[in-house]
Subunit: 240 residues, 2 copies
DNA sequence: CTTGCAGGATTGTTGAACAATCCTTACGCT
DNA sequence: AGCGTAAGGATTGTTCAACAATCCTGCAAG
């Protein structure tokens, strides 16, 4: 490797290495406990409204109460848990107001990302779209296997990767939080198939528009897409 | 008060009461400690890069190490502190990349809020603009007294209240985080006057456009405003 | 100049203990 | 019976002390 090569190139490499190191560092007992709880919540094992007992979870997760409370704090700030002082932590119960709030933010962020891709199209290698393609194909495969929760997961990851195209760490974090809360909403809906099926082909259509570099068209399409999704969830919500 | 009056009216009232109760509940030792640290950081007493020793702060704040660590977690998720595993917590050092990232999000969120006001103009009472007017006048008063950090604080609150017009709790939280990080950036800039002075009258102009209900004009004005502010900070940054 | 190895300092985690608050139950009153 | 109230138990909030794991510093050896 040449030492006096490209200055910016070396800096970019240093950044990727630093990111990898940070990723390896991320392993404390509290975060491992949070990982387990996060999966339990997003997969529905802990339904909205459920209380998480401290003494019970210390035994299951094999961590001390203090460490468990740190895990609770982590998840609280992801929106997956809420604290009620002197009463404990609960899986939040979101309502229609939250649906509107969440989707407003999704529309703002995602549409802006897609529209902004036009400005930096030259510096965007085609390989950046590969994760999106993988997600689309994963959703299609899961649908063929009738595994609708997996379809929902793949669709979620599609949107997370879509935001990732903006190279904004803060947008990534916000989106992760928004999608986690959205999953909370999904669990109150009885029919996951009707909830996720329509968006498999809409995601593919969106992906192909991006591949064809028709960013403005993709943005307006995505806007309609998210409006439609919001209405679907609201309708399912009102039907209990 | 009529019991069978407006259904939605009563629900709205219940929501405000619930919000007040939640606000009163919000008082634990960890959050009080976090409040003190937050002020120390945003006011510059703890400069970027500084490490916060646990044993030292337990004595100053008179809380236990566990409670202090909960306060650290709170501030970490506000972006005011960063954890390095087995090394401690530090005040983050933001760079030009972060400036671009933060301002991109500010533009997206704030412009969307202003533009969205047009749709719900009828239901928006004029009193909602009062906090904005107060902030503008506070900034003008602080400027006359040569208190430029206070000008910066008032300008920040102006934008926080601007976002508040959207009635989105998640946007409020995100904006609080973004503005807190922005304050971190201000401390590396030597001349607070040149940094804040131009935006006193720009905020007033924006307020008057909102008062006149010229929302589209206000939105484009705000977009230019934020681009200008971003360039000013980047310029000050490159000049060390 | 780099490498490897103590030693000390700091953080990560645990367990126990006590105070504060909430929930439940039972009691007494109208 | 219905309702306010008080005692009791259970849970959370907070503190403390201790130990394990990791990092930083300085120094010696190659």
């Amino acid at each position: 490797m040449s030492t006096g090569g490209g200055e910016t190139e070396r800096q970019a490499w240093l950044r990727t290495v630093a990111a990898d190191v940070a990723r390896l560092d991320r392993s404390s007992s509290a975060e491992r406990a949070a990982d387990i709880l996060r999966r339990s919540i997003t997969e529905g094992a802990l339904p909205p409204g459920a209380q998480l007992s401290e003494v019970e979870l210390t035994e299951v997760l094999e961590v001390s109460r203090n460490t468990l409370r740190e895990a609770f704090r982590l998840l609280t700030h992801e929106g997956l848990l809420v604290y009620k002082l002197h009463r404990g932590v609960f899986v939040p119960e979101l309502d229609e107001h939250d649906v509107v709030d969440l989707y407003r933010l999704r529309r703002v962020l995602e549409v802006d990302v897609v529209r902004g891709l036009a400005d930096r199209d030259p510096e965007l290698p085609a390989s950046r779209l590969e994760p999106l393609q993988d997600d689309v194909e994963a959703a299609e495969a899961a649908a063929r296997a009738d595994r609708w929760p997996a379809v929902g997961t793949a669709n979620m990851r599609f949107h997370q990767h879509l935001i990732g195209l903006a190279d904004s760490s803060r947008m990534d974090a916000m989106t992760g939080r928004l999608l986690a809360e959205l999953r909370l909403l999904f669990h109150v809906i009885a029919t996951p198939r009707e909830l996720h099926e329509p968006y498999i082909e809409r995601n593919r259509a969106l992906f192909e528009l991006l591949e064809a570099r028709k960013y403005d068209e993709a943005a307006t399409d995505l806007y309609e897409y998210l409006l439609h999704s919001e209405q679907a969830i609201l309708a399912a919500f009102r039907a209990r």
